[in-house]
C-alpha cells in the first residue's frame, strides 16, 4: 500500500507544534494521577471506587482505536452509513453480560479472565486462556501502533521506525507510573477530544455541503442504508457481520477484552457497572460510530455534489479528490476545514488521542495478566505490595515493547486495514469466548471438557489457515455461494468447533471427577492433568449461583433491603477500628438500612470527582444516639481514611452496598 500524502511544509510545522503540546499535556495529566496508585489494586482497578459515568466516558476513548478514524471513514466512504453496523450489534448477548458475567466478575473479585478460568475450571484452562488473551491484547497493541505509524509516515514522511518508539516512550511513561487511574482520567479527557474533533469536522463538512438536507439528498441511496449489503459484497456483508462481528467479535470485546473489563472492575458496585454498560451500548457506541465513520459519508456526498455541479462546492473550497480511500479521513478533514493548519493539528491530536487511549488500556491489561496470572502465582507468590507495584510497572513497559516489535510483522502483511485486523482476531478469539459462555451457562460443564474443547478449538481454527475448505463450506451455508476473503467466517467456525468439542466431551465424560484419579502412563497422565479440579464446587461462578457469589463477597447473608444515601457527614478517626471498618450512629444506620457486617460505600461529596476519593467499608460498630452531633459524624480507622484518599475537613456521603 502507498501511504504517502502531500501537505504544505508550513501546515506540517503547525501540526507538529500542536501535536507536541498535546503529547506533553496528556503525559503531564497522566503523571498527576499517578499519586492515586499506592498498591496493585489501585494500579489495576483504581480501588474499585468510581461512579459509573467516569469509566463509561473513558470507554469512549478505549473503544475508538488509533485505526478507527482511518478504517471506519474508509468504510463509510466505500459502503456508506452501514459503517455503523458493527457498533450497533452488541445487543443479542447483552442480557448475559448484564445479569451474569458482570456480577460473577464483581462478586468473585476476579482480577483477570484467566483467573476466572482457574476458579471455574483448573490451571491448565487458565494458562490456555492466558496464552490466547495475551495474543489478543498484543495483536491489538501492534495493530494500533501500525495504523498510526503509517499515518505519520504518510503525512510527515517520518519512518514508523523512528516515530513509534517516541510515541511508545511517552505512552509508557504515564501508564507505567500512573496505572489504571491515570489511564481512566487521561482517557476521559481524550474521549472528549475525540468527540469534539469528530463532530467539528463533520459539522464543517455539513456546512460545506449546505446543511443536512443537502448532505442526505446527495448521498447515493446505497450509501444511506444502516446495514451492510446482504451478501453481494464478500468483504463487507450483513451475514458476515452477524456471525463474525456481532456473535464472535462482539462477544470477545464484552467478555474477554481484559482492558475493557478492567474498566467495569473499577466501578463501585454492580448497579453502577450495569449503568455504565447500558450507557455505553445505548449512547456512546452509536455516537462513536457516527464520529468515526461520519466523515466518510460526508466525503461521498461531497464527491456526488461536485459531480452534479461540475466543480468545487463553493468559493473557499478546493476540489476534493480521494485516490486512496485509506486517507479519506485526513483528506476530507483537511478539505472541509478549508486547509486551516491549526485545526488540522487539532485533528491529528485526536488521531493520537485515539491511539494512546486504546493502547494505554491494553498495556495496563497485559500487565494485570502478567502480575495476577504469571508473576504472582508462578514466580513470587509472597512478596511485599511495593514489589508487585514495581513489577507491574516493569510489565507495562514490556507489553509496550512487544507491541512495538509486532509492528514489524504488520508491515509485512498485505490487504485492507479491515482484512489485516480480522485476519488475526478471528483466529484468536473462538476458544476463549466459547468456553466463557459454556462456563457461565452450564454448571456441569467441567474442567476436562473445557480444556479439551479449547485445545481442539485452537488446533482446528489454526489448521484452517492451511486447509480452509471447512470454512468455505460454513460460509456457503450461512452466506450462499461467494468468492473472496474468509475474514468473517473463521471465528464462527472456531466457535462451532469449540462448542461441539465441549458438548461431545461432556456427553462422553459427564462425571469427569473419575478422570482425576486415573492412573497409567503418558496419555492417561495427560488426561489426568486436564481433568484436575473437574469435580470441584463451582458455586458462585455460574449464572445460576449468583446468590452464593454475593454471600461469599460479603462474608455473610446479603442485605437487600434498600436504604437512602446519607449526605453532609463529617469523618472522625477512631483507634478502636482498623483497616476499612466503620462506626456509625443508630440514626444513620436506620436511614441507610444497615446492620453490623453490612458493606457501605463512603465517598467525598463532590460529585465531579467521580469517586476518586472514596472507599468500601464494613460496619463494625453502632453507637447509640446520645448526642445530636453524632448524627453527622462517622468513624473510620486511619488506614481506611488514607486508603480512600479522603481530604480532611471535606464532607462525605454514605451509600449502602448490600
Amino acid at each position: 500500500m502507498n501511504f504517502s500524502l502531500t501537505f504544505p511544509v508550513e501546515t506540517l510545522v503547525v501540526v507538529g507544534v500542536v501535536l507536541g503540546i498535546y503529547f506533553v499535556g496528556i503525559t503531564g495529566l497522566g503523571l498527576y494521577f499517578s499519586r492515586f496508585s499506592s498498591n496493585i489494586t489501585d494500579f489495576f482497578f483504581s480501588g474499585r471506587r468510581f461512579a459509573w459515568w467516569l469509566p463509561m466516558m473513558s470507554m469512549v476513548a478505549t473503544g475508538i482505536g488509533g485505526y478507527s478514524y482511518l478504517k471506519y471513514s474508509e468504510q463509510g466512504f466505500n459502503t456508506g452509513m452501514s459503517s455503523t453496523h458493527v457498533y450497533f450489534n452488541d445487543w443479542f448477548l447483552f442480557p448475559v453480560f448484564l445479569f451474569a458475567w458482570l456480577p460473577i466478575l464483581y462478586f468473585n473479585r476476579i482480577k483477570s479472565i484467566p483467573e476466572y478460568f482457574e476458579k471455574r475450571f483448573n490451571s491448565v484452562a487458565r494458562y490456555l486462556c492466558v496464552f490466547i488473551i495475551l495474543a489478543y491484547i498484543f495483536y491489538y497493541i501492534g495493530y494500533n501502533l501500525f495504523t498510526i505509524g503509517v499515518a505519520i509516515e504518510g503525512i510527515f514522511g517520518i519512518p514508523a521506525l523512528i516515530s513509534l518508539p517516541v510515541i511508545a516512550v511517552l505512552l509508557g511513561v504515564y501508564v507505567t507510573l500512573g496505572g489504571q487511574t491515570a489511564v481512566i482520567f487521561t482517557d476521559l479527557f481524550q474521549g472528549m477530544i475525540l468527540y469534539l474533533v469528530g463532530f467539528l469536522v463533520i459539522g464543517c463538512g455539513l456546512y460545506a455541503l449546505g446543511g443536512i438536507g443537502e448532505f442526505w439528498s446527495y448521498l447515493p441511496i446505497e450509501n444511506r442504508l444502516p446495514l451492510a449489503p446482504f451478501n453481494s459484497n464478500p468483504r463487507y456483508n450483513t451475514t458476515g457481520i452477524f456471525w463474525g462481528d456481532a456473535l464472535a467479535g462482539g462477544i470477545a470485546f464484552l467478555y474477554m477484552n481484559q482492558g475493557f473489563l478492567m474498566r467495569f472492575m473499577t466501578i463501585r458496585n454492580v448497579t453502577h457497572a450495569r449503568m455504565a454498560a447500558l450507557a455505553n451500548l445505548m449512547i456512546t457506541l452509536p455516537l462513536s460510530a457516527l464520529v468515526i465513520g461520519g466523515l466518510g459519508w460526508v466525503a461521498k456526498s461531497i464527491l456526488s455534489k461536485q459531480a452534479a455541479v461540475g466543480g468545487a462546492l463553493s468559493e473557499g473550497y478546493s476540489l476534493l479528490t480521494i485516490d486512496n480511500s485509506y486517507h479519506t479521513f485526513l483528506l476530507t478533514a483537511y478539505h472541509v476545514i478549508q486547509e486551516n493548519p491549526w485545526i488540522m493539528g487539532f485533528v491529528f491530536s485526536a488521531l493520537m488521542a485515539a491511539l494512546m487511549s486504546t493502547v494505554d488500556s491494553l498495556i495496563n491489561a497485559a500487565a494485570a495478566i502478567g502480575i495476577y496470572d504469571i508473576y504472582k502465582p508462578l514466580i513470587r507468590p509472597k512478596a511485599p505490595a511495593r514489589h508487585y507495584l514495581k513489577m507491574a510497572r516493569f510489565l507495562s513497559l514490556t507489553s509496550m515493547v512487544i507491541g512495538l516489535l509486532l509492528v514489524i510483522w504488520f508491515y509485512q502483511q498485505k490487504g485492507t486495514l479491515m482484512s489485516i485486523h480480522y485476519k488475526g482476531i478471528m483466529l484468536i478469539i473462538p476458544p476463549v469466548v466459547t468456553t466463557v459462555f459454556l462456563g457461565i451457562l452450564w454448571r456441569n460443564f467441567h474442567a476436562f471438557s473445557a480444556c479439551v474443547s479449547m485445545l481442539i478449538g485452537i488446533a482446528v481454527t489454526f489448521l484452517t489457515m492451511a486447509y480452509p475448505q471447512p470454512v468455505y463450506a460454513l460460509r456457503e451455508f450461512l452466506l450462499g455461494p461467494s468468492e473472496g476473503d474468509l475474514i468473517f467466517f473463521r471465528a464462527p467456525f472456531g466457535i462451532f468447533v469449540t462448542a461441539l468439542a465441549g458438548v461431545v466431551t461432556q456427553s462422553i465424560f459427564p462425571k469427569a471427577d473419575r478422570l482425576e484419579n486415573i492412573s497409567g502412563k503418558s496419555v492417561f497422565r495427560f488426561i489426568k492433568v486436564l481433568a484436575q479440579g473437574a469435580g470441584k464446587n463451582v458455586e458462585s461462578l455460574t449464572a445460576d449461583t449468583l446468590k452464593k457469589a454475593m454471600f461469599n463477597f460479603k462474608g455473610g447473608e446479603p442485605s437487600l433491603k434498600r436504604g437512602k444515601s446519607v449526605r453532609n457527614l463529617d469523618v472522625k478517626l477512631s483507634s478502636n477500628l482498623k483497616d476499612f471498618e466503620m462506626g456509625l450512629s443508630q440514626k444513620i444506620c436506620d436511614q441507610l438500612c444497615v446492620g453490623i457486617g453490612d458493606l457501605i460505600y463512603l465517598a467525598d461529596q463532590r460529585w465531579y470527582l467521580g469517586g476518586i476519593r472514596s472507599g468500601h467499608f464494613k460496619l463494625k460498630e453502632i453507637y447509640p444516639d446520645d448526642k445530636e452531633s453524632d448524627e453527622h459524624i462517622i468513624y473510620i480507622a486511619e488506614e481506611g481514611h488514607k486508603g480512600s484518599y479522603l481530604v480532611s475537613g471535606r464532607k462525605v456521603f454514605l451509600d449502602k452496598n448490600f
Binding site: 444511506r224 444502516p226 451492510a228
Partner: protein, 98 residues
C-alpha cells in the same frame, strides 16, 4: 426443561436459517434487516429466558426487574431505528451526480 427448551431453540434457529437462505423474493436491502434481526432476536429472547430461568434476574428485586425491562426497550428501539432508517433511505430522493 432447560435442555428441552435449548434443543427446541437450536432446531427453530436452524429452520429459520434455512428458510432465510431460501428466500429470494425479498429485496436484498430488506433481507439484511430480516437476516440480522430474524436471527439475532431469537438469540436475545433465548438468553433472556436463560437469565430468568437461572434466577440471575432476581424477580424479587425491583432494581433487577427495571434493568430487565430497560434492555428490552433498548433492543426494540435499535431494531425500530434500523427499520425506519432503511425505509427513509429507500424513499427519499437522490439528486447527486455520481
Amino acid at each position: 426443561m432447560r435442555w428441552a427448551t435449548s434443543s427446541l431453540f437450536i432446531i427453530l434457529f436452524l429452520i429459520l436459517l434455512l428458510l432465510k437462505r431460501g428466500v429470494h423474493f425479498i429485496d436484498p436491502v430488506w433481507m439484511s434487516v430480516f437476516y440480522f434481526y430474524g436471527l439475532g432476536l431469537p438469540i436475545y429472547i433465548y438468553v433472556s429466558y436463560l437469565m430468568v430461568h437461572f434466577e440471575a434476574v432476581n424477580w424479587a428485586s425491583r432494581v433487577d426487574r427495571i434493568w430487565f425491562y430497560i434492555i428490552h426497550i433498548g433492543i426494540i428501539c435499535v431494531c425500530s431505528i434500523h427499520v425506519g432508517w432503511t425505509w427513509l433511505a429507500l424513499n427519499s430522493p437522490y439528486q447527486g451526480g455520481l
